[in-house]
Assembly symmetry: C2
Amino acid sequence: IFRNISGVVMDEDQASVAIMDFLDKPGVAGTITKALADNNIAIDMIMQSFHPTVGHNSITFTVHDSDLKQTIEILNGLKEEMGAKEVAADPDCAKVSLIGAGLSGQPSIAALLFSTLGKNGINIKMIATSEMKITCVVRKNEVKKAATLIHSAFELDKEPQILA
Amino acid sequence: IFRNISGVVMDEDQASVAIMDFLDKPGVAGTITKALADNNIAIDMIMQSFHPTVGHNSITFTVHDSDLKQTIEILNGLKEEMGAKEVAADPDCAKVSLIGAGLSGQPSIAALLFSTLGKNGINIKMIATSEMKITCVVRKNEVKKAATLIHSAFELDKEPQILA
Ligand SMILES: C[C@@H](O)[C@H](N)C(=O)O
Ligand SMILES: C[C@@H](O)[C@H](N)C(=O)O
């Protein structure tokens, strides 16, 4: 029934940080990301979705816990010149991802994943998807439970084979 | 220099749609996504990033142009029960993606991609990344130019091998 699903992975040591409501124009994403790259911050996820205010935008990054402090500093350093409203951070993050193939265009897979967490009271903080991966960011103390629930919802091995 | 980059792909027939500022609690992502799945909407990207207002959230989807109208209808149907502020849509979307391996943790790759578009005046509407793919949503009439620019910035073949 779920032939194109290969497994569940998780990463407990994540933090999210966002630079919010800056002036939106070409080049800004490059400037921000280059500032992080120049400081050797290993950026895990980059997310920029629909922004309600025309002319403004926000970008969210996930980084390793150990890089959060420095990432906040770098973004705070850019805040003024970008006209950003704030730099917001959430240290209590962990990623859990469903790995497979051809996941886009099969919304029932994503629906099952999100519903599985939802009916078990696990709140999804962030979502990112691609052909091969559906990633949810949840609280650190809920990620192992999330991974186990997803593992059984998708009828993966009897013994959760959770790859770190 | 860019050994882990394999190519550029694009998709011109995209639209983005978001359900904005609904009440944030476990289960909502599942309810929304299931409504789309039950109507056979092939969801391409799902994005949920940092939300500035505690207790509220927004989810962005990209769908095929031909599914936009129905997607808006379905989300409008959910708007009231979710306490959502609005359903917003942008039909003028196209995706351009850099394909490779080990892209996470190499922010200079993302920085080069975003800067390449930025210095050529191409505005990036949305961003999503994974280990193997960095995707930008841009205007339909800018996606071919974006793909060509990225192709040469990453020194891919002399002849742009742009896969649809
Ligand atoms: C917000 C940011 O992505 C900007 N639109 C850019 O193109 O760089
Ligand atoms: C917003 C939505 O993702 C919600 N937090 C959920 O867990 O379903």
